[in-house]
């Protein structure tokens, strides 16, 4: 049973010791005592003794742990920042220790897919089988006050102390307020948004365009091409987002345009890197093997391609990327195809 004294709730939890998780832990530590959970006991022991992680110094207020129950009992607000592929299983492990008073704000820009056993042979998937991370949380736990982080948050820049900003989306005012109170400092700006699903989808879909941007860069294309991609990519994201239950507005803010511009121009982005190396002729397997963290966009392309087929949404960039990633298409060839695609109306979603 959780303790109820007020002091214990000054602690904030972070789940996941990846680059973004530890960056967020460092930002949170400026305002609060932070407990960070990692699956790997050795790594936690190492963090405790060396007080550094991934080459970055751990803030004095950070307490690494290997015990989920301890974290859940000590913190009322928890930030799960885990890759989408491991998200559901970690939330399942956490679930027995959670209560309705907990607030969960996740920072994962990916989708969860769970296909019921009787549909395993079926190749089509619909929105019913695909969940955003907040939907995974409400599926698996009793927590209802859920939110997400999104926006241009390149972990490296943030840990270097460069200015940045994030969007906290939630249906609940108190979740947005609490997120802001915990995260905000003079180098980190926080905005609120009520459209939780919309903001989650923006973060997810953006990764597709980031891969494409990397590929263009790898092909040696210049700024005109990038401008073309970013704007057409935005249109594609909006159509997909609407089909999956988001609103157009979410795409026009910091988490949409803001994040898209940041990742499409940055070699720091893992998704961008995947695209870049593909264009240089490496295979997907080689690339993923050599990266220490997963590029969410790869999995996203796989899922979103099927959703676009099912809901009959025109998504030329996603489709062509799918060919490059999984069907052995050359990036060069893909670009030519895309240029021949009969686009005509510039803006048709407003």
């Amino acid at each position: 049973m959780a303790m109820t004294s007020k002091d214990t709730f000054k602690k904030v939890g972070v789940i996941g010791t990846g680059s973004f998780g530890s960056t967020i832990a460092n930002i949170l530590a400026k305002n609060s005592h932070v407990i960070i959970y990692g699956r790997d006991a050795d790594q936690i022991a190492n963090m405790n003794s060396s007080r550094t992680h991934r080459g970055v110094k751990l803030h004095a207020n950070i307490e690494p742990t290997n015990n989920l129950e301890y974290l859940a009992n000590s913190c009322s607000t928890i930030f799960p920042i885990i890759s989408s592929s491991g998200f559901r299983s970690v939330i399942k492990q956490l679930s027995p220790f959670l209560h309705p008073y907990h607030i969960l704000i996740h920072g994962t820009k990916g989708l969860d897919i769970s296909i019921p056993d009787n549909q395993k042979n079926n190749d089509t998937i619909t929105r019913n089988e695909v969940k955003t991370m907040s939907e995974v949380i409400t599926d698996e736990t009793v927590v209802v006050r859920v939110g997400c982080l999104a926006g241009p948050n390149l972990a490296k820049e943030l840990s270097d102390g460069q200015p940045g900003a994030t969007v906290i989306a939630s249906h609940f005012d108190e979740v947005r307020r609490e997120g802001e109170r915990l995260l905000r400092n003079d180098r980190f700006q926080v905005y609120g948004n009520e459209d939780l699903i919309g903001i989650e989808l923006v973060g997810v879909l953006k990764n597709i365009i980031a891969i494409a941007a990397g590929a263009l860069n790898g092909l040696g294309m210049g700024e005109n091409a990038r401008g073309l991609l970013v704007s057409r990519g935005m249109v594609e994201m909006i159509y997909l987002g609407k089909a999956l239950g988001g609103n157009t507005q979410a795409f026009l803010g910091l988490a949409g345009i803001g994040d898209l511009v940041a990742t499409c121009n940055s070699t720091l982005s893992r998704n961008f890197t995947v695209g870049h190396r593909l264009a240089k002729g490496e295979t997907l397997n080689d690339i993923t093997d050599s990266m220490d963290e997963i590029a969410e966009g790869v999995n996203t392309v796989r899922i979103v391609k099927k959703l676009a087929d099912y809901y009959k949404v025109k998504a030329p960039i996603t489709e062509i990327l799918h060919k490059v990633l999984f069907e052995g298409f050359k990036a060069e060839e893909a670009l030519q195809r895309l240029m021949r695609y009969p686009f005509n109306v510039d803006i048709s979603f407003l």
């Binding site: 009322s76 679930s95 309705p100 209802v144 108190e174 609490e178």
Partner: protein, 562 residues
């Protein structure tokens, strides 16, 4: 063949002495309660309208609207001094806004309080146990006399006792849980609403389950009719005046409901607001009154109640009929509303004692059975509870409902949070409605026939479709039979999977089931929604009414089989 799970039997009252009924305690302290409602509403409105300017603005709006109401929609039941009261308010408003304030003690807060106090006295019910008992006997006596007369087709049978209401009305579902929890906490019963008969029916159900009377917000228009007014007052009804849509009235109404629940009075409201116009199960619920249950729960926790002590349980109920008397009127209103955006004034089709007697008589003489499904009890967040009242999550782990109201370790008041929670509760209720909704043969024939007809014209929109002459819509019986069998198997399978309930008679021999459906669907109406002719065709005399009955199966995604 599925066995009939009809649970009908006589239930012992759970509280034998009427003194113990919360509703009696409430009415014994009526005056004090009105005072409390007024004070509490005053506080709430002061939060919403925090300064002098905004209060005066609100008062002026209220005054204007009330004057309009008195002029345009006067009712018999309105108090005699209505005009006088509002004229006085007008003068007082003029007084306080004129420059010289010092020579008057009056101010905007006093005016505000007087209005709220008047509203709260208007709303308050006037329950009397002796009258309740008398009314109950009259209803029981009258109903069984009518029933016996109608079933035997002979007038002398009116004095026989062969049939009781239990034969006609079946109550199924989570009855024992409801009775158990009614002893432990406070019940908020939330039934679907299809017919004006519902209020009377649900009153009878509550009584026959051995539960003490529930308080119930009844439309003030019903109090225009003397007989009904008498019944309603006896049944613990408080009055809801739908003409008054101003903030002061609505807040007072919510406070009334909230405080009554907080005091442990079992309550009943139709969360859909009004009768379903389209014939489908409510998809969107009115959040105001549901929110008052949630608020009452939070206040009880704030007062130090632990998890299940005096906990509030929300119990969805569906009322399942073969025919709804008002169906043709309701569906026409629905189509008008949806079809064109013009302003629609609600007429009262239910306004004389004669009409009501005629209605009741039809109800009993047309032998059409009714079933009531009691859903699983939930906490105010929509989590199911066990028989001890403990909330459970989807893995059957215990949840402390109190934790939903905590923030950083303490119970806090957050309106926006509670609005979100109310939305979640409303979703859970709608979901439960669909699960416990009982499908009769009559619903299924209407659905299958309408969908077959519709699929033959799926290139035109609904409104054009409904304008096609009825005689062009006939379906060969053979074709109908095949499709009906397919859909019947699907819904029976859904029943086994717990997605809905089907009546046992749906498992019978195919032609018998169809015949039963055709005989019962909307059987009262002058123009029958569905019949079979000599040419072995299924046909309709009123496509609109058929559409209405078809809608009962909306929300199960069954349309895709056509």
């Amino acid at each position: 063949m599925k066995k009939d799970e009809n649970l009908n039997k006589n239930y012992e009252p759970i509280l034998s002495k009427s003194k113990e009924w919360p509703v009696v305690q409430l009415s014994n302290n009526r005056k004090e309660f009105i005072e409390e409602v007024a004070k509490d509403s005053f506080k709430r409105i002061k939060v919403l309208r925090p300064n002098k300017t905004s209060i005066i603005e609100e008062l002026e709006t209220t005054l204007y609207r009330e004057k309009q109401r008195i002029k345009r929609y006067p009712w018999k039941v309105d108090p005699k001094d209505d005009t006088e009261f509002w004229n006085k308010i007008k003068h007082r408003l003029v007084e306080i806004s004129s420059a010289n304030k010092t020579d008057s003690n009056d101010n905007e807060e006093k005016i505000l309080f007087d209005i709220i106090h008047r509203y709260s006295a208007e709303i308050a019910g006037n329950f009397k146990p002796s009258r309740y008992r008398l009314t109950r006997e009259i209803v029981k006596f009258g109903f069984s006399r009518l029933l016996n007369a109608s079933r035997n087709n002979r007038f002398t049978a009116i004095f026989r006792n062969k049939y009781t209401l239990q034969d006609k009305i079946q109550i199924m579902g989570e009855v024992e849980q409801l009775r158990t929890l009614a002893k432990k906490g406070t019940i908020v019963l939330v039934p679907t609403h299809f017919s004006n008969l519902d209020s009377i029916l649900i009153g009878w159900v509550i009584h026959s389950l051995g539960l003490p009377p529930f308080i119930y917000g009844a439309g003030l228009n019903l109090f225009n009719i003397k007989i009904i007014a008498y019944f309603m007052n006896s049944l613990g009804a408080y009055k809801v005046d739908r003409r008054k849509k101003n903030l002061l009235y609505i807040e007072t109404l919510k406070t009334y409901s909230h405080l009554a629940i907080q005091r442990g009075a079992h309550s009943l409201f139709f969360p859909g607001g009004t009768r379903s116009r389209s014939g489908e199960i409510e998809k969107e619920l009115k959040l105001g009154l549901l929110g008052s249950a949630l608020e009452a729960q939070r206040v009880l926790y704030e007062k130090g109640n632990e998890d299940t002590k005096g906990k509030i349980y929300v119990v969805p109920v569906t009322l399942n009929y073969n025919f709804v008397l008002e169906a043709p009127l309701l569906i026409n209103e629905h189509l008008k509303r949806k079809g064109q955006e013009r302003y629609y004034v609600e007429r009262d089709h239910f306004s004389s004692s004669y009409r009501i007697m005629k209605f009741l008589f039809k109800f009993f003489t047309k032998g059409s059975d009714i079933s009531i499904s009691i859903g699983k009890s939930m906490d105010v967040l929509g989590n199911y509870v066990d028989n001890n009242g403990v909330s459970l999550d989807s893995n059957n782990r215990h949840i402390n409902t109190k934790d939903y109201f905590k923030f950083n370790g303490e119970i806090t008041l957050d309106k926006q949070r509670e609005n979100e929670y109310t939305r979640m509760l409303s979703k859970a209720i709608v979901n439960e409605y669909h699960t416990i909704n009982r499908i009769f043969a009559s619903h299924l024939v209407a659905f299958v026939a309408f969908q077959i007809m519709r699929s033959k014209f799926n290139n035109i929109d609904l409104y054009n479709f409904l304008r096609i002459p009825e005689e062009d819509l006939n379906i060969p019986y053979k074709e109908f039979r095949i499709k009906f069998d397919e859909i019947r198997q699907i819904v029976n399978k859904m029943d086994e999977e717990g997605k809905l309930k089907t009546a046992p008679h749906l498992y019978g021999e195919l032609d018998d089931v169809i015949k039963m459906g055709l005989n019962n669907v909307g059987m009262y109406h002058d123009k029958r929604p569905l019949l079979k002719n000599k040419k072995e065709e299924i046909y309709t005399q009123s496509i609109n009414t058929l559409y209405y009955y078809n809608n009962r199966l909306n929300g199960y995604d069954l349309e895709r089989y056509f």
